[in-house]
């Protein structure tokens, strides 16, 4: 019903806007950036706990990290931020950072190596969901005092074994690597929570912005930090308003009440073409759309059936119709722009080939159920699958539910087929290699719900070891080559059909310059924005 409403509304709006000249545009103040975005996923602004898109957007602008991405040159990879430089010990296990001098927190306290160590230890000890990003290097609440050490202006971290330095540093650019103000945070500690409760709604960073207010499901307001070491940002205030509907965001953009609209549907983006004063910013993001086949299902676990299903997907048809300019075809688990990413997309719709494979496997009259979240594009993908699967005699039933409902079943290994999206957790190839192709213990008891391979009951047949080897390879070129090989084997054998990679399209007033949405590897940055 809601979809119908949205369609009706969009169609009517498009028609009416097309026919009527818009009133003269209002303008947002010159030193203020106003953004419409769905921000109802923010549950906390504590960097040790936050794990949602909108929360990461806020935190990236409030906190400095040891190493960080330059929004104007994301391809350059991690760059020095609060750490000015670093050295790696001979055995490759210890990285020693030298802190930048003269940097202060928004509170006025100096940023010290002590604060950086505190922030990392805090994340390990609090053990919230995203903590695995740094605990995968062997840090535990028991050993952090030995493994994370401060010596004057330097901080050294020692991992449990040798890892690719790029892997460790990439992980430190994630949200959880944000450096918090130890004095301020501990002054607000309650019942030994290391300030977790307080940081949920407050900020203690050294970044270009500080948090002025967060009204849940309403707005987030940031104020420029006049003492930011990189220079005070030109936009003195950034207001992110929660606006649910694409049509409404578009209207506000055309009226000039906002500068950026971040959740436009493709039809609203099309509608913006030719509107004076508005342009569209397109960036490739890290999110992949995929379907997976549960290997606990007796028929789905046959190699020919897995192959057949990959040939029963109308990749091009979807990309060129309802997903146009929204998702681009991509059949590998590493998103484009990641180290080791490849652009080989061997599968296309081939019903005859699929039928032959199914016959070879001796499978007939297969009836399957796909779990899908009630989001418009996902339902459309599911319907397309239903249609093409039927051409090879497979009945596909749709089980539609809210994200949480479907996810619960998926994690319990109860779905035949899952249709969903996966976004990388940190900007290193291991993030996706470790979820799609790594599964050391496939038993039910292992309960490795975080691993997609486990959720689909897939014993990766040797890929687990190859993934483990790639993550410790110090030579970056060789490491990339290893991911090429892993992905080649994965395309062939995995019970995953990776289909598309997301393109974010933001509508933007054409006087806004320097906005970076973060690409596939990080979050939005406001501090380079000028108007």
């Amino acid at each position: 019903m809601k979809t119908i409403h949205t369609l009706l509304g969009t169609a009517a709006l498009g028609l009416a806007i097309g026919l009527t000249p818009m009133a003269t545009m209002a303008e947002t103040p010159a030193n203020m950036l106003v953004i419409a975005n769905r921000i109802d996923d923010i549950t906390t602004l504590d960097p040790a706990q936050s794990f949602e898109f909108a929360g990461a957007d806020v935190i990236r602008n409030i906190y400095g990290k040891l190493v960080n991405f330059d929004p104007s040159d994301l391809d350059a990879g991690y760059q020095p931020d609060l750490a000015e430089s670093w050295t790696v010990s001979e055995d490759g296990r210890t990285i020693t950072f030298t802190m930048r001098e003269g940097v202060t927190f928004q509170s006025g306290n100096p940023v010290r190596a002590e604060d950086a160590a505190f922030s990392l230890k805090r994340a390990v000890i609090l053990n919230k969901t995203p903590s695995f990003i740094i605990t995968q290097f062997g840090f535990t609440p028991e050993n952090v005092d030995e493994t994370i050490k401060v010596d004057g202006n330097t901080l050294s971290i020692t991992t449990d074994k040798r890892y690719a330095t790029s892997f460790v540093l990439n992980c430190l650019t994630a949200t959880i690597g944000a450096i918090v103000d130890k004095e301020l945070v501990m002054a607000n500690e309650v019942d030994g929570d290391m300030g977790n409760n307080w940081l949920t709604t407050n900020s203690a960073g050294s970044g270009p912005y500080s948090l002025a207010s967060w009204k849940p499901k309403e707005s987030v307001t940031l104020s420029a930090n006049p003492s930011y070491y990189g220079g005070e940002p030109e936009m003195k205030r950034v207001i992110v308003r929660h606006v649910q509907e694409s049509a409404t965001q578009r209207l506000m953009l055309e009226r000039g009440d906002i500068d950026v609209a971040r959740d436009l549907t493709p039809s609203d983006v099309d509608g913006l073409a030719g509107v004076e004063g508005v342009e569209v910013l397109r960036e490739m993001r890290g999110r992949l759309m995929y379907v997976s086949f549960n290997q606990k299902h007796p028929e789905l676990s046959k190699p020919q059936v897995r192959q057949a299903l990959k040939y029963l997907i109308d990749y091009d048809g979807m990309e060129n119709s309802f997903l146009k300019n929204w998702y681009v075809g991509h059949q590998n688990f590493l998103p484009k722009t990641y180290l080791g990413a490849v652009d080989e997309n061997p599968f296309s719709l081939d019903v005859e080939k699929a039928k032959a494979l199914l016959a070879e496997a001796g499978v007939e009259n297969l009836e399957l159920t796909v779990g899908v979240r009630e989001a418009q594009e996902r339902l459309e993908i599911a319907q397309s699958l239903q249609n093409t699967f039927a051409q090879a005699g497979i009945t596909l039933n749709l089980e539609v539910g809210t994200g949480k409902q479907i996810l619960g079943k998926y994690r319990a290994r109860e779905l035949d087929i899952y249709l969903g999206a996966w976004g990388p957790d940190y900007p290193d190839p291991h993030t996706n290699a470790g979820t799609f192709a790594y599964n050391p213990d496939n038993s039910d008891e292992a309960n490795a719900t975080g691993l997609l391979a486990w959720r689909n009951g897939w014993d990766t047949g040797g890929l687990t070891e190859k993934v483990a080897a790639a993550v410790v390879e110090g030579d970056t070129d060789k490491r990339a080559e290893m991911y090429h090989e892993i992905q080649a084997e994965f395309r062939d054998t995995a019970p995953f059909a990776i289909m598309f990679q997301l393109i974010e399209q933001a509508g933007m007033a054409d006087n806004v310059e320097g906005l970076s949405l973060g690409g596939a590897i990080t979050s939005v940055a406001y501090w380079d924005v000028t108007k």
Partner: protein, 352 residues
Amino acid sequence: MANFATETERRPWLPLPPWARGTLVTLSSIAVTMLGLLFVTFLIGRVMPIDPVLAIVGERATEEQYNAAYRELGLDRSLAIQFFYYVTDVLRGDFGTSLLTARDVSSDIARVFPATFELATIGILFGCILGVPLGVIAAVRRGSWIDQIARVIALVGYSMPIFWLGLMGLLLFYGILGWVGGPGRQGIFYEDMIPSVTGMILVDSLIAGDWGAFRDAFSHIVLPAALLGYYSLAYISRMTRSFMLEQLSAEYITTARVKGMSEWAVVWTHAFRNIRVQLITVIALSYANLLEGSVLTEIIFSWPGIGSYITTALLSADMNAVLGGTVVVGLVFICLNIFSDLLYKVFDPRSK
């Protein structure tokens, strides 16, 4: 309730005057209703096919993190114990912490309810002021062009999706004409400028004496309130019309007319007087509907009210917020019912 009262008069079990006993009976029936409501919402929360723990820890959590959150929520205790703790907490006004906003549910509700209250109140005023006279005139001029127009207005109100109408309204009055403010309760210039006293921005800006902020807030509320008002207008005018028709065909009206009474007096002092009681119930009901059912309007207009609060909470398995919100809405229903009962007594001579 009436029967119960007569019985107690025969054999008084408490040495109290009748009015006090009446109040006591009303209060205890409210208490029982609320307890029932708490029980039902609690049960729904526990049998929903959504995992509240997963909602907190996210899909990447490990088993250990999941179990820690599970215990923190008290889900390892038996249902009866959980319900007991829940009721005692609610009695203290503590609905727990919302998973989504990381704040107390009670403070969340204190923030979102005034937004809805403000919107619904202006909406119902709009609906009454236009709907009641329209219904009366339609009944009096039954079959005339004005009756036809009233019928069309009501029909559109019933059948047009509020979602579509809202977007069209935004497009026309905000997008093209620029007469009203856009989505949200305030323009960005006034964001955080008015100190919050009642939580109702119109009232708060008057208290602060900021005329500009008042005009800004009014320009934002007028469209969604008119939209809501339109939907209640459709209902109120249809009901008024049918109540009036019933009265106008009654014998006492014919008698009054035969006696040579003016048409104005017949309609307003005779017939209308007699439908007041029924109308109060209709208005109270549609007011209650506006207070809890304006979800779509709140979404289109990015209005941070209780309707969208409960809906997003429900979709995200934020059970504390859902339960808290439901209890508050239930309380509003009960209060409105009592209020309309009271008015009933005031206006209906028979109940005296």
